[in-house]
Amino acid sequence: MTSSPPSGRSQGCSLPDADDSGGAAEVLQRMIAASAYRDLLQPIAADVLRVALLNDQVRTALQGLASQPARPARQASRSAEGQIVLAYLEHVAFASPAFLASVGEWPLRGRRG
């Protein structure tokens, strides 16, 4: 099994601006910037958004937040939808190449004793 960053896209935050995801992208970008894990998440922000939009639960939560009047990220995080996004961001932070490298497990591959 080969290990590589979760997508082949260039790193850094290049968020899509399609009509149905632009608002969600903006919300997610704000929440990443306010996250305690932003050091792990910002280098892979494009992947964080791509994966967020492919997940049914997170996409719905982001769209719900995007449809509401703009609020500071910390305030948005307190809603039920915000909690879902926070749980997702935390999951991604601990599954990120940077965190896994810090425990000696990136790149992920089999090791023989």
Binding site: Y37, D47, L54, V92, F94, F99, V103, R111, G113
Partner: protein
Amino acid sequence: MVEGAVVEGGTSEAESCDVCIVGTGAGGGILAYELARAGLKVVSLEQGSLLREDHFSHIDPYGATKDFGVRAHSRWPSDPHEAFFANRLFAPPEHASARRRPDGFLQYQVFAVGGLQTLWNGVSLRFSAEDMADWSVSYDALERHYTAVEQLIAVCGSRDGLSVLPDGHYSAPMALRPVDRLLSEALGRMGDSKALAIQNRKAILWRQGHAQDCISNGACAFGCPVGAVYNFPRRLLPRIVRLANYRLITQAKVTRLLTTRGGARVEAVAYLDCKSRTEKRLQAKLVVLAAGAVESPRILFNSTSEAHPHGLANRNDQVGRRLQDNPKTVLSTSLWKLWQLGRKGRSYDIGYGDPLLLLAEARLPDGEPFRFIGHDSHLVPSVPYYLSGLQGFPPRLKRQLARVLFHSYVTLGLFCGGDPNPANRVQAGKTCDAFGVPQVEIAYQTAPKTQAKLAAMEHWGRALLRRASATRITGQSSDRGTGIHYAGTTALSFGREQGVVDRNLRCHGLENLFVCDGGVIPRLPEKHLTLTIMALAHRLATYLVDADHAAAKDSGPRSDAVPPPP
């Protein structure tokens, strides 16, 4: 890539064969391989598709290599045990054999070539002579078939000289890891004279210089990315798929079996081409149902006729009875004695995930002893299911804790024998699946004795983990389908009043219909049943080939071979 005679949905031409095998899992795969290699004209019918060879390496790999381990349906929080059951290969309710009920028996099915064995962890244990004492097939009769299958699928393990767990034909196992040694030492400190820790026995290729050798991701049951764990499509199908006498038809859902006027023989198998939704028929001299302990009874129930008003092979109301699964306790924890590994990094091989096998005995409140087995699961938690256990800590501390605890997680699975209660049964249902085919219903009650066994196993497991330096232990116990070792519903028996198939797996009262899956196992011991299904399949294949050769000797060319077995 497997190529050759794999056809989606069949053809419009009328087809016929010597043997039609319904299902491509543990039993169906061995049968197809052995019968096709012996020269019989064999057709395998499989409801699902052939998975791409890179399914578990690129399409849906275990761990964080793809999309941080997040899929469209992922939810938070979760744990590895829940994550296993969220696998999208498990059939959704509208396609399943049985409609699920809240708090009912949960039946898991995989519709793909390889069936449930696609997500098999490879544990390959022989049943003992005592386990089979009341069967119509003895251990001695099955012994050589166990050996043949172990050689065919390559099992690694150690020979331990235990009558309760007969030895087989093994290559060397992988080394134990720190977590296995901790558990093994803890078992020693428990002072339990009936408990043993030995090397697990697994159908896994490793260190044999083969392209499919184990890559040590420890997550066998999530689907092996390289095909190191045995399954039919990766190992045996490529060896027969180009034979002129073998054909695999995928996307072919068997709906019923059609019998001759008097009902003594099956003359054709009716199946639905799942793509075109048209019904097709396959004429077969012999039919083997190897579709699983719920789907095979469903096909029998749906094959009613004037001669068989309650379903095929069901004159004595035995089809579907005695549904069993291994009652299972799953306990997870972090072992603090492994915390230092987080600081130093991992220097050991994760291997195939569960190299340790525990054999133990406990007592019910009335003093009755019962046996159970266990194995641990320890892998790289690149998908951070452990976060649910760190709730409440601030992010900075959570990050530090996650690093320290990272290599310390272990899950212990304990399994005891099933309960062959005739009232626990698969029966004809009132609902239909998404194709309009009648489903079955499952009537199931957990017996008080089973609940007591689960409680005793959980107590024992917690005591073991605590002695191994467990911290917080989470767990759950159930006998309602999550063991995925379904058995008993078309049981082997001496007579038609006690079961469905005879000692040759032929349905009582039907000349040419056989069943070869978990359903034929009348009483499920504590051991995993997969190797026994494969050994029974090998024995059935030998029987059918011998019968074919005998008939050919009597009647000339092989094209008219395979009469009804004697």
